[in-house]
Each structure stands twice: as C-alpha cells, then as structure tokens.
C-alpha cells in the first residue's frame, strides 16, 4: 500500500501528514489567528507552538499555511515551510524515536498524529 505524504518543516524538524488532507497551500502570509480562504474563515493552528514550545528562535513572521481537512472540517496549519509531496510504500515507514504526537518515521521525517495534536491543543486552552 502506498502513502502520499505532505512534508513540511516546523522549526528544524520535518513532519508529514496524509497529503489527502491537504486542500491548498497558502503563503508566505503574515501571521494571523484566522485565515480567510475562499470566503471561509479558517482557524489557524500554529504547529511550532505545539511541537516546539521551548524553542528560543523567534517564529517565522511569514509562515506558510496548509489548508487541511480534519474529518469534515477544515483548518489552517501554520508551518515554517512546505518541503515536498512524497509517495512512499507502507514498508518504508519505521517506528520513530519517542516524540510527542509522532506516529512513525520515514528517514528524518516524522509522521504526525494530527488529530491527537489538535485535541491536545484544545484541552490546553
């Protein structure tokens, strides 16, 4: 079985989500909390704040936004850079070193548990 990954950088680490979630890539765009996209108001989730809360480097002033689908809803993920879209086989995916919200690894890319990450971010507010 093959997977299509959307690979993006947050801070100094590459992460991936299922590319079938991705509707559009927006940016670079100034940092906002709500992104207006095709007449919809999408809440923005800042992945740097969730994945690298202790980072000392300042966040990018003009992040890229990934408009992505979660269930039947949409939101925007703020990331440093979108790197590539990769098709890989399931066999190439390996267990990852323990890291919060990371399900598995492909080389240096961490496959993200987006749903758990978003749910944790909601309860943290």
């Amino acid at each position: 079985m093959s997977l299509l990954l959307c690979v993006f950088r947050v801070g100094v680490q590459d992460y991936a989500i299922d590319a079938r979630r991705v509707e559009e890539l927006v940016g670079p765009h100034p940092r906002v909390e709500v992104l207006t996209w095709r007449q919809l108001e999408l809440p923005v989730t800042d992945l740097a704040a969730l994945l690298t809360p202790d980072a000392t480097a300042p966040p990018p002033t003009h992040p890229r936004f990934i408009v992505c689908r979660v269930g039947m809803r949409r939101l925007a993920l703020a990331v440093t850079e979108v790197r590539q879209v990769l098709r890989v086989t399931e066999e190439a995916v390996r267990p990852s070193p323990p890291a919060p919200f990371v399900l598995a690894a492909l080389g240096d890319i961490f496959l993200l548990d987006l749903l758990s990450l978003l749910k944790a971010s909601v309860s943290a507010r």
């Binding site: 299922d18 095709r38 598995a104 749903l115 909601v122």
Partner: protein, 162 residues
C-alpha cells in the same frame, strides 16, 4: 488492541473529530475560482452492496451511531431520534427508502441490534433543520467534474437498484 500507527495517520472523512468543534469552523465545499468546470466534492457512502454519493456541501458532520430513541408512532422512514450536543435530530435510513436490501434491521428500541463497526450517521442540514442518515460505511471523498455525472431518469434508477 494494537492498531497500526498508520491507521491514525491516514485521513478518513469519518475520523473522530469530537472536541475539535471550537477550532474547526470551516465547512462545506467552495468551488475553485477561475476554472470553467469546478469539481464537486462528493462523499462516498456504502448502503448495503451499493456505493452512493452525497455532495460534500450537504454534509455537516459524521458520527458513530449513538443510542437511538424510538418514535413508536413516528413515520415509517424515521428510525428514531438521536441527541447530538444537546440537539435532537431525526435519523433516517436511506437504504430503506431506496429499496436496497437487506434493509430491515432494527436500529432503535428493545430489538435494536448493536451497530456494525463501520456504521455511521451522516448529519445533513436541510431547510427544516439537521437530520441524520444511517449508512453502513463511509468510503471516502472524491472530486468529480460535473460533466462526469449523468442525470438518470426514473426507469434507469429502478434498473440500477433492482
């Protein structure tokens, strides 16, 4: 029960997004501007042996079937009602209306069967308010060009469903 980590990685339109209502406001499909034939997003549903599709625009959310309350003197096509975040919704089973068999499993009341793992309620909104549609499974999302869809007349529909 161990599940492959990839199961939590892969996108499914009916994945559990409970708790995310506050941060996910965007809903519905917006056709891309500047194209002559904007594709239509469709949700693929399984009803018995058939795959059917519903426009994404019509779908509000997808949930696992909760306990349904019977309506003993309700209309035949209403399976019962469900509670969704304090809202009461009527639940229908499209399979029955479309004559797709098997379609007579009890879903509410004392004879109700526990729902199969893949069963879902697709919550749709219409002029009278939201309603739930009981489906056997959600199969995915596709984008279809309108020219790929063909309007059927009644005889073609009957033949298809026979």
């Amino acid at each position: 029960m161990t599940t492959s980590p990839l199961q939590d990685f892969l996108y499914r339109p009916d994945e559990d997004t409970s708790g995310l209502e506050r941060i996910s406001l965007g809903r519905g499909e917006v056709p891309p501007s500047g194209t002559s034939e904007p594709p239509v997003g469709m949700l693929l549903l399984r009803l018995g042996p058939r795959t059917c599709a519903l426009p994404l625009l019509a779908v509000r959310e997808i949930v696992r079937p909760p306990i349904l309350t019977e309506l003993p003197r309700g209309p035949e096509e209403v399976l019962g009602v469900m509670l969704l975040r304090g809202e009461v919704l009527p639940v229908y089973e499209p399979k029955r209306k479309l004559g797709i068999v098997p379609g007579n499993v009890a879903r509410a009341g004392p004879d109700a069967q526990p729902p199969p793992r893949s069963a879902r309620i697709v919550v749709v909104a219409d002029a009278e308010g939201p309603a739930g549609l009981w489906v056997d499974a959600v199969e995915g999302v596709v984008r279809v060009a309108p020219s790929q869809m063909k309007t059927l007349d009644v005889l073609e529909v009957e033949r298809l469903l026979a």
